[in-house]
Amino acid sequence: MNGINGYRLGASGIIITFFTIITATVLLPMVLFNPTKTTSANAYKDTPYNQVADPERGRRIYVREGCVYCHTQFTRLQDRGYGPLVKAGDYVSETPHQLGTARTGPDLTNEGGRMASEWQKAHLVQPRALKPGSIMPSFSFLTDRDMNDLVAYLQTLGNGRKVTTYVQAPDEYEKFLANRKVDTASDAAANAGRGIYTQNCAVCHGLEGRGNGPNSITLEKKPANFTRAFYKQYPDAFWFYRVREGVPGTRMPHFGEILSEEQMWYLVAYLKTLPKDQEEVINDISQLNEVTPAVKLPRLTNQVYEPSTGGAHSGGEEHGTEGPNGEDPGNQPQGNTPGEYVPSKAAPPPETAPAPAGGH
């Protein structure tokens, strides 16, 4: 042991350094950081899915199939369109954690309820049939039980997080509202706003406010379709805010720079008169500005995946809760139901994992 003596100092340095760091960055967080479980955490028990599938087992399938390598499970401040922000207490019972480090696919924090269970299942079997250009692998090798549990798990993601507040106009807009000289409920004001709309807004939002103006075809973020039900609950101050300051993240300009306050209030009056209708998406120049009948899109429901009888699920059973606008659920166009899914030639789905087709 002759050599060791001279190096005691160094060796103890290695040991002391390491244990100091372990204390600071491993033990201390374990002691000091104990968030209490929040109500917004994912609930896997007593969900509508428990009757037909097991979300907790679905989580183990999620872990086993390595979904975490491409899908994250935390929303960040800078994320848009992924729902409410997570809190520390949301993860108390999430072990092993599936936070993830790469988003090759979308974030799944609040995925539950975003798509119908049939859609999720079809998407797991052949993602590219539903999302062209997706590079997600096909999970057609999962058994029917695995698939149902996994879908049940996906549908519970974010089920504790509810949207409680929308973006609101800043406080200064109360002042604008108090000072306005235009009666935004009057026909005269709406008529005055029509011309302002035609000159400034129609080029993107379309003459009918459907978001289908000629410019819309070149925009990556499509202009708002004012005929959607969502816009019918806008208060005057919020319309005024959006007109005056534009919409962050889009090409919507700040009209406060070119319109007077009075003109903008006339515009608000007109915008409030736009009819309520269905959303439509313009993909082709020939669709622009032609009067089309209202398109009935399939509803995205929280519908429970029906336990399959005899292996294949019948897509025709898609009767759930009432649609957002109360239209007859039976009127859905055939082309948009998941039942239309046709597996690619390269990969006939195996006996154990049938596509959620069949019924039609």
Binding site: M30, F33, L77, S93, E94, T104, S344
Partner: protein, 466 residues
Amino acid sequence: MLVDRLLSDREGSAARNFLISAVFWSIWGMGAGLFASLEFAFPDLVHNVPQFSMPHLRMFHVNAVAIGWLSMGYVGSMFYMVPALTKAKLWSEKLGNFTMWAWNLLMACAFGTLLNGFTEGREYAELGAILDVLVVVALICTALNIYMTMVNRKIKKLYVSLWYFLGALFWFPLVYIIGQRTFVALPGLNDAIIGWFYGHNILGMWFTTVGVGMMYYLLPRITQNPLYSHGLSMLGFWGIALFYAPTGTHHILQSPVPEWLKAIAVISSVFLLVPVMTVLTNFFMTMKGKWQMGVTDLTLRFTITSCIFYLITCTQGPFQATRWINWYLHFTQWVVGHAHLALLGTFSFILTASVYYGLPRLTGREWASQGLIRAHWWLKTLGFTLMMISLTTAGLIQSAGWHHGIPIDMWAMELKPYWILRGISGIMIVLGQLLFAYNIWKTVYTNAGIVIDTKTPTLSTMEVKS
């Protein structure tokens, strides 16, 4: 006797077996990576084969290159470098060979389990409970062997490489045990904090420390230049020991973990520039006057390439760990590129150099073909550069997409050219590795290897010039 054959006590046999096993597993690991990358480019390549689905291939790819190729190669390299630096025989060749078999068994089990989806679901800690125990046993056997060799050393002064090996073999088994969380179920975010403590320190306390130790060994040996400064090398060692371990939380900077932990992680990440620049100054000053040797000496060329990639990766790292750059770049393929820059660009290159340097001295045979080594270098360097460019560009496209809130459906297809380029780079790298393996087979197992020393090589008498 079979036992004598399997657990040989011939000097240098453990190191030789470890290096050859490492190259064997590198082909499987890199092959799995290539397969997975082709599935990014052509997602419908394979259907209905769970073993070949991308996430399963990725699990095996990461574990095979990290635990198989790099770690086994590191242990093999230490098994020949430590005796050479201490002028003492390896404490127990039998124990070394036993460790080698345990490690190979572990890798075979990893192949069987990970591809079938038996995973703990923790990134970089996927191996199951039994395999975790096996890794720890193998690491402790290795540490015992190296420590006892150092205790029996004939040269009193410890060269800086030995400091790195000494530290790594103490730190890494502990980091591994803490990081696995096999037998505990922690609350989600605490699980993530420990997970990234481990995930970053498998790099900081193992791949970096041993890898830099190997650079310290190889550069002065090959160039026959004395090390520029022992003082700087000590500063670098203690800097890495202090600043590397707390950085893990920079992987989850935007998640709701405590802010003070994020602050520690970011600050120590930036401080890492100090030891890295110290180490590299030392390397590049040691190279002074000998740069032209890189043209003819291919082992040196691999070493220099590794040092240069180390410079790039360690400048990139601290900057992307700062909050605002991380805010933009996180979650994208940029980070994947960075990880490959460290593990493939830096540490895989230095390990390759170590194999090219060590195997002839361990087997007494000169390399069968210099042309194959040259081809290996070109394929690996060009392939890796292409991979880095494609991943970084893809990462910037993704960053822009996430940052501006554009739905992924709108830009996912834009990445396809980069996935294809990455696949091509993977083909080049795997091809290079196959040539490497062929060269080893030719040298060691056929008569093509030119015998340079008929006697059993004695590492402990190899010349120390440092």
